[in-house]
Each structure stands twice: as structure tokens, then as C-alpha cells.
């Protein structure tokens, strides 16, 4: 088999809260090195879908296969291991407020990977250097700018050596002038072959970097395909309509 084996398969995820259907029958597969982009109006369920993929929200239906193994969502230990392999970047960073940049990266290395204090520190310094934050290692979250916080969050996630990274609108909480530094990190990751799923509204970015666009609306995946085919001048797709409404802003 020379064709790429999918590293992650997400099958028929559904989630209902009360009487409201949040997600319905959402599936996707991800091959190594791919960057799939989730777009769609707010409230479409992109964030929830990403959280379900990481089991931060437990889906009601569906199953997930990572590297050929189906994940048992009842097995808590398996979930923890799974989550170390599938990293997550949040819209609002969610840095640990009581720890400085270095310890934010190091704490999971120590507590989850069981590394020694020194080894964790060394690794954390490496990761922070990779996102250009060698100068800010002793600063606390409240002392960092939004872009710096998000880069610490990247270092924190990458330190776990994830196979896949989930990005939930990583730039939408940032001031416009800070978006660039975070996009640089993502571009750098993509060029090094990191497999990613990203919810975003950065259109120019979507077009230039994604391997596939997934368009969601009302909790369902409406369209998916390569950016060229969906955003082609000739076609009339829902994706294109939405894309144009974004560009006209």
C-alpha cells in the first residue's frame, strides 16, 4: 500500500444537549501532513466538533479511530493517553494562570509524561525557543500579550509530541496586529508536516495553506473538498457564498 494511511478517522459524531441537536453525523478522515480547515457561521458547531474529537465533550454517538485503534471513551486512562497524542489549541489560550510561561509548558511534561524537573525544564525551554519566546520564559500569563499567550499555548501543546493538533480559532481572540505572529507558527508547523484540523476565519490563510475545507452549518458537515474545487470561480457552493460574505467584510 503506497496510498497514505489515515492517521485519524472520525465517524458519525453526534451530540444532543437536552432536546437540541448540536452535532449530527459529522465524519472526517485525516492523513499525515494534512491541514483540514473547519469553516462556517458561528454556532455551526465547529468548536464543539473539535472538543468532541478530543473527548473534552463526550459525543453521544459515533467513534474515533487513531492509528487504526478505536478509542474507548469509557476508559479514562486511554482517554488521557489519547489526548497527549491529539493536542489542542484554544481560542482563549487557557494558560494556567498561576504558572509562568516555562511552568505552563513544563507542568504536563512532569505530571503526565513523568519527566524529571530538569528534563521538563530543558524541553520546555526548547519549545519556547521554537515559538520565539526565549526572553519571556519567566513571565506570568497576565504579563504576556495575546499573541505571546497563544504561542505559549502552542509550546505547551507541542511539548507533548502530539501526532495531531486541533486548533480552535487560534487567532480570533487576538488584536489584528498580533495575528501574524501566531499564523507564522502555524505556517511553520504545516511546512514541517504537522497534521492539523483548524477552525478559523482567516480566509487568505485558508486558501493558501489548507489541504481541504470542511464547511459546517447547523451542526452538520455540508460540504468538503479541496480549496481549489470549492472556491473555484466556476462553481456555486455554499462554501463559496460564505467565503465571499467573509471577504466582503
Amino acid at each position: 500500500m503506497t496510498a497514505k494511511q489515515p492517521v485519524l478517522e472520525v465517524h458519525n459524531i453526534g451530540l444532543t444537549v437536552g432536546s437540541k441537536t448540536i452535532l449530527e453525523d459529522c465524519s472526517l478522515t485525516l492523513c499525515p501532513g494534512e491541514l483540514k480547515v473547519l469553516i462556517g457561521p458561528s454556532g455551526a458547531g465547529k468548536s464543539t466538533f473539535l472538543q468532541c474529537i478530543n473527548f473534552l465533550q463526550m459525543p453521544d454517538t459515533g467513534h474515533i479511530i487513531l492509528e487504526g485503534k478505536t478509542i474507548d471513551q469509557k476508559n479514562k486512562a486511554a482517554l488521557c493517553t489519547y489526548r497527549t497524542k491529539v493536542g489542542m489549541i484554544f481560542q482563549d489560550f487557557k494558560l494556567f494562570d498561576h504558572l509562568n510561561a516555562l511552568d505552563n509548558v513544563a507542568i504536563a511534561l512532569r505530571k503526565v509524561r513523568g519527566m524529571t524537573k530538569n528534563a521538563a525544564k530543558e524541553r520546555a525551554l526548547q519549545e519556547l525557543a521554537r515559538v520565539n519566546l526565549s526572553e519571556q520564559t519567566t513571565l506570568y500569563p497576565a504579563q504576556l500579550s495575546g499573541g505571546q499567550k497563544q504561542r505559549v499555548a502552542f509550546a505547551r501543546a507541542l511539548a507533548m509530541d502530539p501526532i495531531i493538533l486541533l486548533l480552535d480559532e487560534p487567532t480570533s481572540a487576538l488584536d489584528p496586529e498580533l495575528v501574524g505572529e501566531v499564523l507564522t507558527v502555524i505556517r511553520d508547523l504545516a511546512s514541517h508536516g504537522m497534521t492539523m484540523i483548524m477552525a478559523t476565519h482567516q480566509m487568505d490563510f485558508i486558501r493558501s495553506i489548507s489541504t481541504e475545507i470542511i464547511f459546517m452549518e447547523k451542526g452538520r458537515i455540508v460540504e468538503q473538498g479541496a480549496p481549489e474545487s470549492l472556491l473555484n470561480d466556476a462553481v456555486q457552493s455554499r462554501t463559496k457564498q460564505f467565503y465571499q460574505s467573509l471577504s466582503s467584510l
Binding site: 488521557c80 487557557k94 494556567f96 494562570d97 507542568i107 504536563a108 513571565l139 500569563p141
Partner: protein, 238 residues
């Protein structure tokens, strides 16, 4: 002139009595502080546990904690002290006043401290728990290395307050026969009939003990201060 002399003599005598009784009263502060810090420790350990149950526990566990808090917040300390006395007697435990007082105040403080910690946990910025889970931490790991360190920091002001409340409550324990500041003062006052001066002296001592420890705890708060770290009670995302 004569009245002045007698007034002066009276004041001298009063001063003499107070100075005589002072060593005994001050020695009572060892017992007072013993009760207070014993109770604070009991309240800290059980209160933290209760707070975690209240926030992360199953519905029946929350109900149980709520009932506990309701009970201990509704009963006056004085009643609880006598009730504790009765319980000790009924169960045939040693009737040691210091022990009873410390346990009763500790269990009461536990109700209040659990509310302090619960408030602190709920006021943590949203998503701390979620971020920890996303890194593969088990819930217990997340609670111990992410939630508790933050909650404890945020609880220090509430804790300072709890200390001064307990110190004042401890002044009631003498009804059981503890040898604390209050008991020694009451004893000296009954013996010498110098109530005014002696109770004033005891009041000053309590005031001083409040001030010193509150200053100390404020120092502790400063020492654990993290730049720009304040709680935000806006989002509550557990």
C-alpha cells in the same frame, strides 16, 4: 486633695492587680492560639475536601455538603460547644475541654472554609480544567496541580478573615473550662473585682493577636502573589 490621693492610690492598686494577673492572662494566649490554629487546620483539610466534593462531586455528595454547611452555619457556637460536650459525654470520650473546643470550632470552620474554597474554585478563569484535560492530565492530577494551587492562593484573604472570626469565637470556649485568655481573665476578675481593667487588658490582647496574625497573613499573601493574577468570576467553565 484627699480625693485625689485616694484616686491615685486606687489607680495604683488597679495597676498592681493588672500587672499581677497579666502573666497568667498572657499565658492563656497559648491555649487560645492552640484552639484557633487547631480549628483552622481541621477546617482547612476537611473544608478543602468538602469544597472539591461540592464542585466536582455527584449530586448526592453536593447535597450532603450543603446540608453540613446549612447545619453548622445555623447553629450558634455556644450551642455547638455544649452539644459537643454532650456528644463527648454520651460517647464516653475523654472530657478534655481543649479537645472538645478545638474539634467543635474546627468542624464549624470547616463549613465556612468549604464555602471560601468553593467560591475560589468557581472564580478560577474558565477552562483551566479543560486545558489540563486537553494535555492528557487525569482529573485528579488537574485538581492537585492546577486547581488547588490557584484556589488556595485566592482563598488567603478569606482565610485571614476566618482566622479573626475564629479568634473571637474562641473567647466563648471558656464555658467548657478551657484555660484560655478569657478564662484566665474571668478568674482574675472574680478574685480581685477589677473587672474594668482586666477585661480592658484582655480586649487589648485579643486586638493585638488579631492585628499581628492578620499582618502576617497579608505578608503570606504578598509572598504568593503572582503578577496580574486576579480571579474572574465571569466565565465558569468546569
Amino acid at each position: 486633695m484627699e480625693t485625689f490621693t485616694s484616686l491615685f492610690a486606687g489607680a495604683l492598686k488597679t495597676m498592681h492587680v493588672v500587672l499581677d494577673a497579666l502573666p497568667s492572662i498572657v499565658s492563656g494566649s497559648v491555649v487560645t492560639l492552640g484552639i484557633v490554629f487547631g480549628a483552622l487546620t481541621i477546617g482547612l483539610v476537611i473544608g478543602l475536601f468538602f469544597a472539591l466534593l461540592h464542585v466536582y462531586g455527584a449530586p448526592w455528595q453536593r447535597l450532603l455538603v450543603s446540608l453540613y454547611v446549612w447545619f453548622f452555619r445555623g447553629f450558634p457556637i455556644l450551642v455547638l460547644l455544649f452539644l459537643g460536650y454532650g456528644c463527648f459525654a454520651a460517647m464516653g470520650l475523654p472530657m478534655h475541654p481543649f479537645l472538645i473546643a478545638t474539634i467543635v470550632l474546627g468542624l464549624t470552620s470547616c463549613a465556612y472554609q468549604s464555602q471560601i474554597f468553593r467560591g475560589a474554585i468557581l472564580s478560577l478563569r474558565g477552562g483551566q480544567m479543560q486545558a489540563a484535560r486537553a494535555l492528557g492530565m487525569r482529573d485528579s492530577q488537574a485538581i492537585f496541580s492546577i486547581i488547588i494551587p490557584q484556589a488556595l492562593r485566592l482563598s488567603i484573604p478569606g482565610w485571614t478573615n476566618e482566622y479573626s472570626i475564629l479568634l473571637k469565637d474562641s473567647a466563648i470556649c471558656f464555658v467548657l473550662g478551657t484555660q484560655d485568655i478569657m478564662a484566665k481573665t474571668a478568674f482574675a476578675a472574680a478574685r480581685t473585682h477589677e473587672h474594668l481593667a482586666l477585661y480592658a487588658a484582655a480586649g487589648v490582647l485579643y486586638f493585638f493577636l488579631t492585628l499581628v496574625i492578620v499582618k502576617l497573613l497579608n505578608r503570606v499573601e504578598q509572598a504568593f502573589h503572582i503578577p496580574g493574577y486576579t480571579s474572574s468570576s465571569g466565565e465558569q467553565n468546569l
